[in-house]
Symmetry: C2
Subunit: 289 residues, 2 copies
């Protein structure tokens, strides 16, 4: 049931992204953009859609903001995979963009996907009220930029450059920026679309985002390259501090479970209407990809 | 007089950009962002401010949109200079970002500067009306993305890959996207801030953008690295078609002059109030940097 809901939302989001690129010029960079936004779990977009449901906003209405956050996520992956960053040749079981095309194309693909995200939010289809659309733009700019995702990436590079393993507080802050900010934006977007207070979904997403990262660290140790479709054991090989290296495998699992409980508790005000988001939280730490 | 107006606007815009980065975390990427947005003629930002003046919008009000377009311009330069694109080590007489820092930092700097641009437009300080701010965001997304600047860059790469020199119609279209789209947005932004029809400034900017590119091609042939602060003769060395290779030096100069006349004629409805924009057009083809 949950898996099919996730799949349906993913299909809806992918269709919106492909429609946004349907009329783009016939250029390798356009083909590479379609390639880069295809597939994936669409967890962030799903959070937008399910969060919006709580405020009576339909999936058909929320899909534009969902597509926007997936475009940002896709841009960050394409740039992260480049040789000057993580230098990955595999993503979701397929060659990364700079491998299948070239580095210049990968650079432009990421750049244009970020632009596309803001274009999707600014489109009147996203929400009839300009005040809501600009609120989505402003909050996404905070989440994705130098005070959010890019800051997390910079902190990650700085730690590597210094050759110093981070402690738990530092890695928690780094991840709250690097992956947490977009997850928080995703969950909060539903409240923004509904013109409501973002606080309950924000608490949910803060705990969820950290649980997500801990699960990622566990997958990096335990994961199967066949299932994850990306290289594993990267962090251990690089000697980087992770939640697993700091807490141990059992400790990391326990912490992730606690965070999922915390995320679910933040949804109490919504009662059973938020069951899908509760299931999403449990899915995040149970996934094998 | 004109030069001092340009300088005053540049100082105003730079102050806005530095203020936007004042509270950013103390990280190399933040320092590199400040470095990347410092200096330059600020021609695009000046067009925003002077266009706005025609509609009774003050420089203090227009500076936010002016800073946004300069952030986009700066991002495009940082990424263009990277080894996988133009591989330039000199910009405005200084080491480019990936030389002074590294490629990973340059990638993040460009990414975060693009985000910053949209954040500046979404900030209530940019304009009190959400409808105006979202109009600026939507139009900038069109101008900067896969239907605008990035398309022009893709067309440029495609021509190089094909090893085929473009004809005049093709290079005119390429440049209308690659450099023209941002120049058009800059001039039109003033009308958008004033809630007015963008058509007159759009005609002005279309002619101006092309004149600007022709002047750039002339500078690439005739320019002095000491003055331009960047490598010259790059296009000729690469065997690329330019307006100079297609029209000859005298033909290119004549075409640029015609375009400036065309740009000035589009300003007729404004009378002498648009004299600064007329002077800007003449400056664009007379500059030596």
């Amino acid at each position: 049931m949950f898996q099919s809901q996730l799949k349906d939302a993913a299909a809806l989001i992918e269709a919106r992204l492909m429609r946004a690129l349907a009329d783009a010029a016939d250029q390798p960079v356009t083909h590479a953009m379609r390639y880069a936004v295809a597939g994936g779990k669409r967890l962030r977009g799903f959070l937008v859609i399910e969060g919006a449901t709580l405020y009576g906003v339909s999936a058909g209405q929320a899909v534009h903001a969902a597509a926007a956050i997936e475009a940002i996520h896709a841009y960050s992956l394409v740039h992260d995979d480049m040789p000057c960053m993580d230098d990955d040749d595999l993503r979701r079981g397929l060659a990364t963009v700079h491998i299948k095309w070239d580095e210049g194309t990968a650079l432009l693909v990421g750049d244009a996907l970020q632009t596309l995200a803001f274009g999707l939010l600014a489109d009147p289809a996203c929400h009839p009220a300009p005040s809501v659309r600009i609120d989505l733009v402003a909050s996404l700019a905070r989440a994705a930029g130098i005070d959010g995702m890019v800051l997390g990436q910079a902190q990650d590079i700085a730690a590597e450059t210094a050759g110093r393993a981070l402690n738990l507080a530092e890695i928690t802050e780094l991840q709250a920026n690097k992956t947490g900010a977009l997850i928080r934006w995703s969950a909060e977007a539903g409240a923004r679309l509904g013109g409501a207070d973002v606080a309950p979904l924000s608490s949910y997403a803060t705990a969820l985002g950290l649980a997500f990262q801990i699960a990622d660290d566990i997958l990096d140790v335990e994961g199967d390259v066949e299932k994850t479709g990306k290289r594993v054991q990267k962090d251990a090989d690089a000697g980087k501090a992770t939640f697993v290296s700091l807490l141990g495998l059992d400790g990391a699992r326990a912490r992730a479970r606690d965070l999922v409980d915390e995320a679910c508790a933040a949804l109490d005000p919504f009662g059973p209407r938020a069951d899908v988001l509760r299931e999403t939280a449990r899915f995040v730490i149970a996934r094998d990809t």
